[in-house]
Symmetry: C2
Subunit: 266 residues, 2 copies
């Protein structure tokens, strides 16, 4: 007996998903007659989330209705409600959670390369996510969506906390003091602000340039923090020790050192 | 006849404020007997907003009730509702708008001083606001408050847009390209992230150190952008031309230039 043929218990309000997609009874008969496709439970659930995510990614969440999700999924509205008894809010949170998992899965630092090369690879993954999820990424980070709640904020906060943990691990830090935490959180906010600005300004900047800019800003910001904080100085020394001579970091620092205030040039 | 003695029309739902505080009728009688103070209309409105702002600043908005606002104002709950018929949400928005106006009023750049000194002065004003409004600042920027809506987000967005405009004016820029916009929005996000991190980490860093760190990061980030964007390079040159030799900016750039990747030291 397949999952699709299981009898369906009444969906409890707020339950994550029904035991199975309706396969019997008058509702199922209507569904069959109207030509909706039947799918196994888990597959249907994942499909609905994927469709919702794609809709939330191209339009602000307030402009996406459950009818849109149903239509784009080839499912009926009652079926969507059967899986997400909490309605649009629950579906939005599930989609957000799925997006958050996908985004954090791209934070993995490759084994090879200098620190700036590794960072560039992580940023490439990040921007491919931003480019794919456009409006959804904006709505997510900008907040203020009609469906923004303490729960959706917790999901976004968890992404930021994961980004903080991963960045500190990348830096080789076990326990960060307040100044290093300040630096890393600030840099993460630069990545977010840059992504939003990039989307808002119509993607005029090529992603590879944006990535290189962010890598450079990471080096510059960390190097600046090093003057204020011994822990940041230690992290910087550790990273620079692994950089290639004449590479990105070296060229940037040399260029910054070559800048002079006018009075010194006179 | 004083404003307090005017007859009170029934408050329309969503109206900004009643024509006058109740001075007659049984309700006024109860109010008088229970010892609440009577205030002229505009003064009462401002007082309620100020009290609400102070409560929202020390506790997350979800934990502040209209009863708290009434008690702290020496007003009755019905009176608070008379001024803010939309209830807590309307009062919260009014408090937020008032806070936003206060914050943006501190963005004014002093006439005297080098660019880094001017920036330091603006940041001092900003941090005094953050220190005063603590939880309210956090709830505001972090979003996810139960009372976060498209309207409250619009208020926060307007603060950011004002910060962007003022920073560009400070930089002497009339029309910013996408790369300079990227830089300035990123730097504003650093100010916000640093403020939140500072609050979250229990204000361990002295405000003056935080301010100097942000000024240095502004110089470093702008100098880094200069390598990627002619407009940023032009802005940087304009600012550095006004800096003192041996001043903050000069010392920072020299220190950054003195950093070497290990392989170059060998």
């Amino acid at each position: 007996m397949e999952a699709t043929d299981l009898p369906v218990p009444p969906a409890a309000p707020g339950s994550a998903a029904p035991a199975a997609e309706p396969g019997r009874g008058p509702a199922a008969e209507r569904t069959r007659r109207s030509g909706y496709r039947r799918l196994p439970v888990q597959q249907r659930r994942e499909q609905l989330i994927a469709v919702a995510l794609s809709l939330f990614s191209t339009r602000p969440p307030d402009e996406v209705s459950l009818d849109d999700v149903a239509a784009a999924s080839g499912a009926s509205r009652p079926l969507v409600y059967r899986y997400f008894a909490g309605g649009k809010q629950q579906l939005y949170e599930a989609a957000l959670r799925s997006a958050a998992e996908e985004l954090t899965s791209r934070f993995l630092v490759p084994q090879r390369g200098t620190p700036t090369e590794q960072l560039a690879a992580v940023l490439d993954g990040y921007f491919s996510f931003v480019a794919e999820h456009d409006a959804g990424y904006g709505a997510l980070l900008r907040g203020g969506s009609v469906v923004e709640t303490a729960r959706t904020s917790a999901i976004v906060d968890e992404v930021r906390r994961t980004a903080l943990r991963r960045t500190l691990r990348y830096m080789g830090v076990r326990e960060a003091g307040p100044r290093l935490t300040l630096l890393v959180r600030s840099w993460i906010s630069v990545v977010e602000a840059a992504s939003l600005s990039w989307l808002d300004e119509g993607r005029q900047i090529p992603p590879a340039e944006l990535r290189d800019w962010l890598v450079d800003e990471f080096v510059a910001m960390t190097a600046t923090s090093a003057a204020h904080d011994p822990q940041s100085a230690e992290v910087l020394a550790g990273l620079l020790a692994l950089e290639a001579p004449g590479g990105r970091a070296a060229r940037l620092l040399e260029r910054l050192g070559g800048l002079r205030v006018t009075a010194e040039e006179v």
